[in-house]
Symmetry: C2
Subunit: 228 residues, 2 copies
């Protein structure tokens, strides 16, 4: 309570996102293979949660659709927990309209074609083949929404090479206004720092190594400037 009071006292007097609804996805998705196993990815959720916290501090009404993570919900943020990409897709669409959509979650591109009802045994044979099918594309479904497209749609790209090229491509194909591209070939996962480049219609900003909190603050400044 004391800590919260201090936070309130330190809260910036200007709330550039006051009255705005910001919808954010964060964390990994988990695509079950059977009742025990599944496909996931290395996202810790830290970047998305930092952005949600920064947006709430800037006065926004924040809805955070979160995959399975071990993080505390930031103050003033409404959190919706989901597991699979399909559930995340549905939760995002259920919480439109929004002024801003920021897709930070590392959404699994693929899910198992069939989910085994019981845990699969190590049986005979030394190999097992799993068939995967594509998940819905959440960012594109929001970026190209015919009636409820937010004024600003921002995606994330985690790449291991050609970060700028893939970021540019994603901007076009997803109907996004900006892409935060980061190079995950360095140690970014579960870390508190990141290598971030923001790419929009005017080109890429030069990337720099910064904390995820700094990246969140930069993005909120960018959004506030775009909305005015």
């Amino acid at each position: 309570a004391i800590f919260a009071a201090i936070q309130t006292a330190l809260k910036p007097k200007t709330q550039p996102l006051k009255g705005r609804h910001v919808l954010i996805t964060a964390g990994p998705t988990f695509e079950p293979l059977d009742p025990v196993r599944g496909i996931t990815n290395r996202s810790s959720g830290k970047q998305g949660y930092a952005i949600a916290a920064a947006a709430a501090q800037a006065g926004a009404q924040v809805t955070l659709v979160s995959g399975p993570v071990s993080l505390t919900t930031p103050d003033g943020v409404t959190r919706i927990d989901v597991e699979t990409a399909q559930q995340m897709f549905e939760a995002v669409h259920a919480h439109l309209p929004a002024d801003v959509f920021i897709g930070v979650a590392a959404v699994g591109d693929w899910r198992a074609k069939t989910i085994a009802r019981d845990k699969q045994k190590k049986g005979e044979g030394d190999e097992l083949s799993v068939t995967l099918v594509k998940n819905p594309d959440i960012l594109a479904s929001v970026g190209k929404h015919e009636t409820l497209r937010p004024r600003l749609v921002i995606g994330f790209a985690a790449e291991t090479r050609n970060v700028e090229v893939y970021g540019q491509t994603k901007l076009r194909t997803k109907g996004a206004d900006a892409i935060m591209a980061n190079d995950v070939s360095k140690d970014v996962f579960d870390a508190d720092t990141t290598n971030m480049i923001l790419i929009d219609a005017s080109g890429p900003t030069s990337g720099r190594h910064m904390t995820k909190t700094e990246a969140a603050a930069d993005l909120i400044h960018y959004i506030a400037a775009k909305l005015t």
Copy 2:
């Protein structure tokens, strides 16, 4: 520090595992598919960490080989972090000899035959086939070790049906002295309670719903009795 002092004061006067080395695995494994994605399972690590804490409180020297979890290392426990089943296998064998081995980790049975060097793109085609190959069997490799088999080898079985039958089978095929079998068809994952049955040569004990801390204490009592 005050809390630690209280814990010390409350520590049971009898330390039935004093002088024993207890080697424990806990948590999930993560088997990479590419630099971003991988196959994992729903283990939170809570049960293994509770057993490590109980063993340390009972006076044992505890080595905890842990997959990726978001848990604090219990007091007095030496923790070795690993990611894949192969790494866990190697860490376990590097820390033998031990008086007791308790395999609580949910070890991935399968890993990708080839790990893609770069993140795989959603390309053409709506399906993707992944070939998996078997991981080494850590429990059996310890239970059937020719020279360094611990006096007590205890495994875990997380099953969705026929818990007792699979538990009995595992006891035989892995060279284990006891199997803690739990029924994960109920809500056990990431929960603080569990449905546990201990199965050894004298048969199954009747299962009951208990906290993971209670299950850990029960297991330590069982081990202390077996070692005297």
